[in-house]
């Protein structure tokens, strides 16, 4: 059946940033196709990109601004409390009424308690332009740096580990390099689930003769393609990496030239490795010492080797250490700054890279320019024409804690769902209930929305223009294929409209004002304040995206980073201690819980549970090793209750040897069995990221479940 029109755009799910074509017929998405000639996916998609975008047509899309029914003009607002439902809790409002109300409240709270009494979540799913304007609004009009997003809950560990060692946190190699890899190591990434199209290139690499080392407690699919599989005990990653470093140093397999030219503190670091023998690591991690030696030699002796990692490394109270340990390995062997050699944290959300690039973080402006650097701050103050707060803001989890302490009174949340993504959800809920005001801007009423005073309906990715930046730093176009439903508006329009109202109420005028001739004009401003993006224009990326850094319009973009050394100047070897996970199984809670993603769902499930994807994975399922299943006992399809010190959920059993003995795996997509009711909210001291992979739990048979999937 021929479509009425075909609109090329970028997939809204993961960080691969596949190029898709929305085939529109009768104002509906008829099918999704893809251009076989375009990077990064060259005609390949996964189930979500190809079949999962029908969520944009879901009947529960927000189509009108909503205001809580219990709000009476002139009266003080009730605190944020969860409404029973949208219909019971909210009434429709006009955009003017809703935005005036938001502007009034935010302005009043900023006036009374200072800007730092407001917390803002920008959005790793929104465009670069949306996020740039959002952080500019927060920083210039609310005068706070309390802005963060879900990257905090995924790659903060990687960012902290990379920043302190080399000074940059972006993925250094490219997807196009993958098929030509010589040797590569994948750890803490179930790539075939989380980055399916990247996994295709990795499999192709193995077909083409590359050697793959997998270090993962779970028997992920890539194990079938691996030359070596090191199955460490959960939480013992640092031990394995340190022991590999020990082997590389003691057998002198390192790259002297690279170490001398590009690093510092090697001697101290080498000395610090003495106790971390492979035999010691075998005790700690359960990986045979000999395998650690083989892995170290394979990695070190490679012509070029790339490291890929995901949440298994980062989402840990030692996330920064995990990442630092990997950086140490790369620096030892000089596997950095060359084709097929580098450090590659695989980014999760479609635009988590861009959201961070655009300054959606409490400590940096666009282009990772530190808030705490007076010269930088002066530059931005000059560029934007307003004074800026010198204090770093709070991170996502810290903001929730600050709400509990009454220091933050209002939240403005664009497209995020902390009530699913925060660790220790019970605690998070109690915190949110302290808020004097909360506004939500989203395409669906997610778990968090029902606490809000005002809900603003936004356009989906298919209904707006802008750019996303994928995991390999490729800035790619997003194009409107449909009109937003009802009164819904693109995020950028909403933000600019709100900014104009706030600007007036706060009496603050920025240099550029808040009238932009569309996203392209916003993007041009990004280039003016953040040089890495200056050479990327909408015209240049009309067909295929460009990888930043791209300083001028003649620059082709950057395939891999650090060819001329690392941003820090010299890479700093980072001596590490091994720390066991904070919570380990005991007699009462005898299993370790790891949480993560399924192929068929996306994060909190806000989108995917409203698409055909939900039909294939409709219920929460917990993976249990056959040996554990016999011990519990339970069988495929049984219901079990999973309890931690913080909460409990019910899920259906899938007996699978993907999970190692003693560790169960629960996906975090299901609000009715929210994995984060169980997890700890202790944070990595450096990265402020919680540990979603190590929680002690007990399992018992359950007779019934109380799942209710309510889609508001």
């Amino acid at each position: 059946m021929p479509p009425d029109r075909i609109i090329p755009t970028t997939c809204p799910f993961c960080g691969v940033g596949c190029q898709i074509q929305l085939n529109i017929k009768d104002e509906q998405i008829l099918r999704v196709t893809t251009d076989f000639e375009l990077a990064p996916n060259y005609g390949q998609l996964c189930v979500k990109g190809r079949f999962g975008v029908d969520f944009v047509h879901h009947p529960t899309r927000l189509t009108t601004p909503l205001i809580r029914k219990d709000i009476v003009p002139g009266q003080p607002f009730a605190k944020a409390r969860k409404a029973a439902s949208l219909a019971e809790g909210y009434r429709a409002a006009s955009w003017d009424e809703a935005l005036d109300l938001v502007a009034d409240q935010l302005a009043a709270i900023a006036q009374q308690s200072g800007g730092d009494a407001i917390g803002a979540y920008c959005c790793a799913k929104a465009t670069n332009e949306d996020n740039y304007i959002f952080q500019k609004l927060v920083r210039t009009l609310l005068k706070t740096n309390n802005i963060d997003h879900c990257a905090r809950l995924c790659h903060a560990g990687s960012v902290a580990g990379l920043m302190r060692t080399i000074g940059s946190s972006a993925m250094s190699n490219s997807i196009t390099e993958m098929e030509h890899l010589d040797t590569f190591l994948v750890t803490g990434s179930n790539t075939t689930y989380a980055h399916p199209v990247i996994a295709l290139s990795l499999k192709k690499a193995v077909d083409n003769g590359a050697r793959l080392i997998v270090i993962d407690p779970r028997r992920i699919e890539l194990v079938d393609f691996a030359t070596l599989w090191l199955q460490q005990r959960p939480g013992s990653d640092v031990a394995v990496f340190q022991a590999m470093a020990h082997v590389i140093v003691s057998e002198k397999l390192y790259d002297v030239d690279y170490i001398v030219r590009h690093t510092e503190d090697f001697a101290a670091y080498a000395a610090s490795l003495t106790p971390f023998t492979p035999e010691w690591a075998e005790q700690v991690s359960g990986v045979p010492a000999d395998k650690i030696r083989q892995a170290a030699r394979l990695y070190a002796n490679a012509h070029s080797a790339a490291l890929y990692w995901g949440m298994g490394i980062s989402q840990s109270t030692h996330g920064a250490d995990n990442a630092s340990a990997l950086v140490n390995l790369a620096m030892l062997c000089g596997h950095i700054g060359k084709f097929g050699g580098g450090l590659n944290p695989l980014r999760g959300q479609n635009n988590v890279q861009g959201c961070s690039d655009m300054g959606g973080l409490p400590n940096v402006y666009p282009g990772y320019q530190p808030v705490g650097d007076a010269a930088v701050r002066a530059n931005f103050a000059a560029a934007w024409g307003v004074d800026l707060s010198p204090a770093n803001g709070l991170t996502a989890v810290e903001m929730v804690h600050a709400v509990a302490r009454g220091e933050i009174r209002a939240f403005y949340i664009m497209g995020e769902d902390p009530m699913t993504s925060e660790p220790h959800l019970t605690h998070a809920r109690h915190s949110l209930e302290n808020l004097d005001f909360m506004a939500i801007q989203d395409i669906f009423a997610n778990e968090t929305a029902l606490y809000a005073h005002v809900i603003l309906p936004a356009a989906s990715f298919a209904e707006k223009a802008g750019t996303f930046t994928n995991t390999e730093r490729r800035v790619q176009r997003v194009r409107p294929a449909l009109n937003p439903p009802g009164l819904a508006r693109p995020d950028l329009d909403i933000l600019l409209d709100l900014a104009r109202r706030l600007s007036q109420r706060r009496g603050i005028d920025t240099r550029q004002g808040w009238e932009y001739a569309g996203p392209a004009a916003v993007w041009r401003e990004v280039g003016q304040v953040a040089p890495d993006f200056r050479g990327i224009t909408y015209e240049r990326i009309a067909k295929v995206g460009i990888q930043y850094p791209c300083p001028d319009e003649d620059h082709p973009g950057t395939l891999y980073l650090f060819a001329d050394g690392v941003p820090r100047g010299r890479g700093k070897f980072w001596p590490l201690d091994f720390q066991p996970p904070l919570e380990t199984p005991d007699e009462v809670y005898p299993f370790n819980l790891s949480t993560g993603r399924l192929l068929y769902h996306w994060h909190g499930g806000t989108m995917t549970r409203r698409s055909a994807l939900n039909d294939i994975a409709p219920q929460p399922v917990v993976e249990i090793n056959p040996a554990d299943a016999r011990r519990i006992p339970c069988a495929d399809g049984d219901l079990v209750r999973i309890a931690s010190r913080r909460g409990e959920v019910t899920a259906r059993v899938e007996v699978s040897d993907r999970s190692p003995v003693g560790t169960i795996f629960l996906p975090f997509h299901y609000a009715e069995a929210a994995a984060n009711l169980l997890t700890l909210d202790e944070l990595d001291p450096a990265a402020k990221i919680p540990d979603y992979k190590n929680t002690a739990v007990a399992i018992s048979p359950a007779e019934t479940h109380d799942w209710q999937m309510i889609l508001h």
């Binding site: 008829l30 076989f36 079949f51």
Partner: protein
């Protein structure tokens, strides 16, 4: 002769081409269109449909343009009588065996080559199946329309996905695309990437959404 170019002749037209390119690529350089069906630029060329065969002087049989690479002084005819007979007969036999209603390109080719599938008679065996297989939320499989181009099997296997959900039943005329013991897709290793749907040239694989739409 510089080593990076060779002379060949295509339909009487002499031209210099890089060595090692396929006949199909060389023909395009010469501005000559050769029809293809199973060929897909992103996939391994298996040359199963043989619609792109050409006559290569000195070769006993016709040569598939998608997979055959040019050699110095090759003299190639892309539209000779022999070539046209082969193409027409293949198209006729195909149309007599398979439902091509969703493959307008093939219908157009059949007309262009003057093919008449009815020559084989109304009782000629057709490959028909018991209805459309709609066993998953994402796509349907309508094997009445399957020409066995292999693309879906290739993308499911080493060419792209390495999932190996799809393979073959039977052989010869009775070959079919199949799963392990004909299991419904959710019971196979399928991950529903739909890359098979994306490369199907005849509408045998189609998104469920589109199928329910009525197409």
């Amino acid at each position: 002769m510089p080593p990076n170019e060779i002379w060949i002749t295509i339909d009487g037209q002499a031209l210099k081409v890089p060595p090692g390119i396929t006949i199909l690529e060389a023909a395009r350089l010469a501005g000559v269109e050769i029809p293809t069906l199973c060929y897909h630029p992103s996939l391994t060329a298996n040359a199963v449909c043989r619609l792109c065969v050409v006559e290569w002087r000195g070769s006993r049989t016709l040569v598939a343009a998608c997979a055959g690479t040019v050699r110095p002084n090759a003299v190639i005819l892309t539209n000779s009588r022999r070539v046209r007979t082969a193409r027409r007969t293949i198209l006729e036999m195909l149309a007599a065996s398979v439902d091509l209603s969703d493959a307008p390109d093939l219908q157009a080719l059949l007309a262009e080559y003057g093919g008449d599938p009815n020559r084989f008679g109304e009782d000629a065996a057709r490959r028909t199946f018991d209805g459309v297989k709609a066993d998953n939320p994402f796509y349907v499989r309508d094997y009445d329309k399957c020409v066995l181009c292999w693309r879906c099997v290739q993308v499911c296997a080493d060419d792209v996905q390495h999932t190996y959900a799809l393979g073959f039943n039977g052989r010869g005329f009775h070959t079919e695309i199949a799963t392990f013991f004909d299991a419904p897709m959710p019971d196979t290793t399928c991950v529903f990437c739909g890359n098979c749907v994306g490369v199907c040239p005849t509408g045998a694989l189609k998104g469920k959404r589109e199928y329910l739409w009525g197409g």
